[in-house]
């Protein structure tokens, strides 16, 4: 066990230190203002945009800012005196050629390592059977997908993913109110855990408990967000990312209206749980929601981490799904790598050499032979088909068991 853990950590350290996505520098630059006493980062960045070297908005929710900023304050003796200058360096060439870049990357990704390993232990505890728990532990530690997504992309989604998994464990232990609390905290980092709340409500045994299960996560999320409510906050967080992509119109029904496919299926799942499921299995609904989101939205590769622990649990619970899940995982990772965005692929290797800027992206390489958008669409459609089948099987098997 010890040897396996050491190997898992070594692999993660290698990817963490050498692969670089520019987002980690951007959001850590923004989080560095906490050390200077800035609490409302949303307004601060917009008000000081003209004088700041990096102009991007802070698109995450407040807990991300406070956790990253707090960690930076703790880690500053290790990061050294040149760290803040590096964060603020808008020249992408000199920043990446800084010899300290490997140390910075490793230290900045250290919290991810801690949470990543903790998730492995949570999965170990998730199963009543020791054999199944150990299998989940190994799959989590030794699947290339999460190592790549967490450490190459410097993925802050690990925070809500970790807390959401705790929430699922609490549901398993029938501590639903604590699970609701955990979802609210997770939403303080990123919004997506709130999508699970409508289904959590159905787990309540009385009307009072149902109301509390709905109110607690939104209440906690509100308590975290309300102090920052402003035009800047709405512009930076609510209007970006998930909220806009998930509600992308699907097909028109005339007069400017359209049916949003992802929301349609979400709604069908919700009403299905409400009207037909007397004892809803939260795990099935949560993973189905995520499969729907990934099937019908233009997702960021970092989002795939949301579903990763659930996929591991599913692969262990239903081993016959292991290979289909592996193939779908491959497709889902390849789709975003085909986006026309250098930082998703070639630029991850800029810490080795900036010469790689001269290489074509996979998008450009594919373009010479075939329409890359069409290839993305084909892969996404295949993924959606597989994902919907797995969702169907989840509920069909569940009811027949």
């Amino acid at each position: 066990m010890k040897k396996i853990l050491v190997l898992a950590i070594v692999l993660r350290v290698l990817v963490a230190a050498f692969l670089f996505h520019p987002d980690i520098k951007t959001f850590n630059f923004q989080a560095s203002f906490l050390k200077k006493g800035v609490t409302d980062i949303y307004s601060y960045l917009i008000e000081n945009r003209k004088t700041l070297p990096l102009k991007e908005e802070f698109v995450y929710f407040p807990l991300t800012y406070f956790v990253l900023g707090g960690y930076q304050a703790i880690a500053s003796p290790v990061l050294g005196s040149g760290f803040d200058a590096w964060l603020g360096n808008a020249d992408s060439n000199t920043a990446i050629l800084n010899p300290n870049v490997f140390r910075y990357l490793l230290v900045l990704k250290l919290p991810y390592l801690i949470l990543d390993i903790s998730i492995a232990f949570l999965l170990l505890k998730f199963f009543d059977s020791g054999v199944m728990g150990k299998k989940a532990f190994i799959i989590w530690l030794f699947n290339p997908f999460t190592i790549f997504i967490i450490y190459a992309f410097g993925n802050i989604d690990i925070f809500p993913v970790f807390i959401t998994l705790i929430s699922l464990l609490l549901i398993k232990k029938e501590k639903l109110l604590l699970a609701a609390l955990a979802l609210g905290i997770a939403a303080g980092f990123k919004l997506y855990p709130l999508l699970f709340v409508p289904f959590l409500i159905f787990g309540g045994k009385s009307t009072k408990e149902k109301v509390l299960l709905g109110a607690i996560p939104f209440g906690i999320f509100g308590a975290i967000s309300v102090p920052f409510l402003s035009q800047a906050f709405a512009q930076s967080t609510l209007i970006s990312g998930l909220t806009t992509r998930i509600f992308n119109p699907g097909f028109a029904v005339g007069f400017g209206e359209s049916i949003i496919v992802g929301l349609l299926l979400f709604s069908a799942l919700f009403f299905g749980a409400w009207l037909t499921d007397k004892k809803p299995n939260m795990f099935n609904y949560w993973i189905a929601i995520l499969l729907i989101i990934f099937s019908f939205s233009h997702f960021h590769i970092a989002w795939l981490l949301w579903i990763a622990p659930f996929v591991v649990i599913l692969a262990v619970k239903k081993p016959f799904l292991s290979w289909p899940l592996f193939l779908l995982a491959m497709a889902s990772v390849v789709i975003p790598l085909l986006y026309q965005d250098r930082s998703m692929t070639i630029s991850l290797y800029r810490a080795y050499s900036t010469w790689f800027d001269l290489l074509p992206t996979p998008f450009n390489a594919v373009e010479r032979f075939y329409d890359p958008y069409n290839l993305q669409s084909i892969l996404h459609t295949i993924f959606a088909g597989g994902a919907l089948t797995i969702s169907y099987l989840l509920f069909r098997k569940e009811k027949s068991q």
Binding site: L11, G80, N100, P144
Partner: protein
């Protein structure tokens, strides 16, 4: 599974950079010199631009610089002509349609094997463009040793300096390129004190 993932990660970290390095068809010789984006010259019709520079590399195969194409109005040919002692030796043509405003543009041409230390002149023209379809190059007002620029001619007047250019050479061999990439990476990784906090 453990060994498959271990092999995948080691490949990702140690082998993929070599594969990427071996795919490089050219490598930059210098970093683009800094420039003031307010100092620019317009190129259209007979108003061309001529630059003298000393090649800092053998196997010269491209010259890159930043070019403005305001409002993407220029959709005509932008012609790069390279001269050695007044003789036209290479030409590279791009279309304005492919020039994003302010983007870094490379004029690629067949390799010149014995280019190291030789003085060349190149011109950039856009004879098909009218005054409304002008493209603009940025100007540095003095010679710049790392890029090799010495002087430029604009509207028949000679001035010191020129455009902030990057020269590119064709790698001698894939193995040498891979070696250079890993050497640069390791030298930064192992540079004294780099992995210790100050």
């Amino acid at each position: 599974m453990i060994w498959l993932t271990t092999a995948s990660v080691l490949t990702l970290v140690f082998v993929v950079p070599a594969v990427l390095a071996s795919a490089l068809k050219m490598i930059p010789v210098n970093i683009q010199p800094g420039y003031n984006s307010d100092i620019r010259l317009s190129i259209y019709k007979i108003r061309g631009f001529s630059q003298k520079f000393v090649a800092k590399t053998g196997n010269l195969t491209a010259i890159g610089t930043s070019i403005r194409n305001p409002n993407l109005k220029n959709k005509t040919d932008v012609i790069f002509s390279l001269y050695d002692n007044g003789n036209l030796i290479r030409t590279s043509i791009l279309n304005g349609q492919n020039l994003e405003d302010g983007s870094f543009v490379k004029f690629v041409f067949p390799v010149i094997p014995d280019s190291l230390g030789k003085e060349y002149t190149f011109t950039i023209t856009s004879p098909g463009a009218g005054p409304e379809e002008t493209i603009e190059v940025f100007i540095i007002g003095e010679p710049e040793p790392t890029s090799g620029i010495t002087e430029y001619t604009y509207e028949e007047e000679v001035h010191p300096g020129g455009i902030p250019l990057v020269s590119y050479s064709q790698p001698e061999s894939k193995l040498k390129t891979i070696n250079s990439v890993y050497s640069s990476w390791l030298s930064r990784l192992l540079s004294p004190g780099s992995q210790k906090s100050e």
